[in-house]
């Protein structure tokens, strides 16, 4: 791998002080898994937090010694000489609370009962995640992030950092995100959740004890999600109306390439992702709405923010459209925050934020290079 951070090792942090969730539920203790790349400088001013989206995790860059093909999900962005340059920055990726990649979540064993949390795991919110991430920052002695970076649901966390802990984040990079989901967007999430909730193998969230997995539900949820992360053009380009066998077979088997692709993606996802985590992540998306406490006035919601912002959207992203990003930019302008906004022309819909795109990466690099000038490496 060119400019890879190389072999990485996941770490585990345990927190024994109870975390009070937005819902009122209390997690008496919890664990977070995380990875770090680069070196934390002496005054701990070069730390960057990467917040992941719905299906993401702490493995953001590099690969594992025993799994050289398991490359971090944002490896094209992060590494020595890459836009987020690990020669300059200390980068931290964390699996969110409620996740299914090692941090405490619905599939973890509840130490109080000796059984998986399952349905008893609290519905956590973006605010709760940010609070748990702040615990991790405390543990590492990071008083202030040079930047908090995230796409989609990750962008919501990045923004929330500037509202929950204004003094603890100097820059927010909010990519392909929104200040709140639209009704249409919540509707997609609800269909995905319904697929899981109505799967006979779901058992009200306690399927672990039954030794089954609501695969069909997860698979449908992922297939639907996938459609919305791509653009019409990208799908037409990649699959068109191509038939696998070249002719119509007049049955309901997989015929079109797009069907094959979606089912493959669905199966792959259902094999490793936790159904309860999927429910919880989509709820966190639906609930995120900083303006809610301010009579739906986003300007007032952002009044607390002290960070500088880079907001990025992608032209064909209809799930988190440029319009939604412009709303964020307006609120920041009205609060006289330093903000730059780039609207990237890309064919790949919402997924664009994960892709290698020359202009997008140049914008990220330019902004991050300026941040790096603020501290001494």
């Amino acid at each position: 791998m060119d400019n890879s951070v190389g072999i990485v090792v996941a770490q585990r942090a345990q927190f024994e002080t109870p975390l009070i969730c937005s819902s009122g539920a209390v997690l008496t203790r919890f664990e977070l898994v995380f990875e770090t790349y680069g070196t934390l400088n002496a005054d701990k001013s070069n730390a960057v937090l990467i917040c992941h989206a719905l299906s993401g995790h702490h493995h953001v860059a590099g690969y594992y010694a025993d799994q050289p093909k398991n490359i971090g999900w944002w490896d094209n962005m992060i590494g020595p000489g890459k836009p987020l340059d690990t020669n300059k920055f200390f980068v931290l990726g964390v699996n969110n609370l409620g996740g299914c990649h090692g941090s405490t979540g619905p599939s973890s064993i509840n130490p109080d009962t000796g059984k998986a949390f399952g349905a008893s795991f609290p519905v956590v919110t973006v605010e709760d995640w940010v609070n748990s991430q702040a615990r991790l920052a405390d543990m590492l002695g990071i008083r202030q992030w040079a930047a908090v970076v995230g796409g989609s649901l990750g962008g919501m966390q990045a923004m929330q950092w500037s509202l929950s802990y204004p003094e603890r984040v100097r820059h927010v990079l909010a990519i392909a995100t929104a200040p709140r989901l639209t009704a249409e967007n919540i509707a997609f999430n609800d269909v995905a959740r319904s697929a899981i909730l109505t799967d006979p193998d779901f058992y009200g969230g306690n399927f672990y004890e039954q030794n089954v997995v609501p695969r069909r539900g997860l698979r449908l949820a992922r297939m639907l999600g996938h459609i919305t992360y791509l653009s019409d053009d990208a799908m037409a380009d990649k699959f068109g109306r191509s038939l696998r066998s070249g002719k119509l077979s007049y049955n309901y088997d997989i015929e079109f390439e797009i069907e094959s692709y979606l089912r493959y993606q669905g199966d792959k996802f259902a094999a490793y992702f936790d159904a309860n985590t999927y429910l919880l992540m989509t709820k966190a998306l639906d609930y995120f709405d900083p303006a809610r406490d301010y009579d739906d006035n986003l300007d007032r919601a952002f009044a607390a923010a002290k960070a500088d912002f880079l907001v990025i959207s992608f032209s064909t992203d209809w799930r988190f459209s440029p319009e939604r990003s412009r709303t964020i930019v307006s609120a920041l302008l009205h609060n006289r925050r330093n903000v730059s906004y780039a609207e990237i022309a890309s064919a790949h819909g919402h997924d664009s934020f994960l892709m290698q795109h020359a202009h997008y990466h140049k914008v990220m690099r330019a902004y991050l290079d300026n941040i790096a000038r603020e501290f001494s490496v």
Binding site: L310, R326, V329, S330, L333, H334, R336, N338, V339, S340, Y341, A342, E343, I344, A345, H359, K362, V363, A366, Y367, D369, N370
Partner: protein
């Protein structure tokens, strides 16, 4: 423009110095069509302004960010709807007026968003341009570097044209600086000036 300090920038772009001379320290500035952000960077260094640029091109966005200035990617011809009334002390349109499609609404928007507006543009009435036309050709010069078929300039005007425009649309001109190369032109400016910078506001009583 990364390597320019502000004195060399002022030499390269005399309109920058003229604009800076009108802007008090610490003012808030919106620069429309800000290109690579040189003017904003210059004003930040020379006048400690709080500024934002609006730019449409990808190259401009990258350059602005490299230059450390705030920039919003947007098409000026779709208006300034993201900006509140009177949210800036100055709204600048530097060497961009002639390339805007909806010029009059944009000028109105400038005075909605800003207390005062500043525009600079190449003077089509400059004698060299007139001579070109007399000789039967569209002018091509340092200030008008394009061929007729590839120019973004759709609304070229002379100083007289601009001033009648302001009068027609109830905009009051507060100051004017006319320049050719580095020199300020005071005599017969519509003939001898290659470029003009105006500062204006909404005429009283409107």
């Amino acid at each position: 423009m990364n390597t320019h300090d502000h004195s060399s920038l002022a030499a390269a772009r005399p309109d920058f110095a003229a604009i800076a001379s009108w802007i008090p320290e610490g003012a808030s500035v919106l620069d429309l069509g800000c290109g690579d952000g040189s003017l904003l960077r210059y004003l930040k260094e020379a006048r400690k302004i709080r500024g934002y640029g609006v730019e449409i091109s990808d190259e401009g966005i990258e350059a602005c960010i490299r230059n450390g200035v705030n920039v919003i990617q947007s098409d000026l011809d779709t208006g300034l709807s993201g900006f509140e009334n009177n949210s800036f002390d100055y709204v600048i349109l530097s060497q961009t007026l002639q390339a805007t499609r909806h010029t009059e609404p944009l000028m109105q928007e400038m005075l909605r968003v800003g207390r005062e507006g500043i525009v600079s543009f190449p003077n089509f009435g400059f004698w060299k341009n007139r001579l070109n036309v007399l000789r039967g050709h569209m002018p091509v010069s340092e200030d008008l570097p394009y061929q007729w078929y590839d120019t973004p300039n759709v609304h070229l005007c002379t100083l007289h044209d601009f001033e009648s425009f302001c009068s027609k649309y109830k905009m009051q001109i507060l100051a004017r600086r006319v320049m050719t190369d580095r020199y300020t032109i005071t005599m017969v400016p519509n003939l001898l000036g290659a470029m003009a910078v105006y500062r204006f506001k909404r005429a009283p009583g409107i």
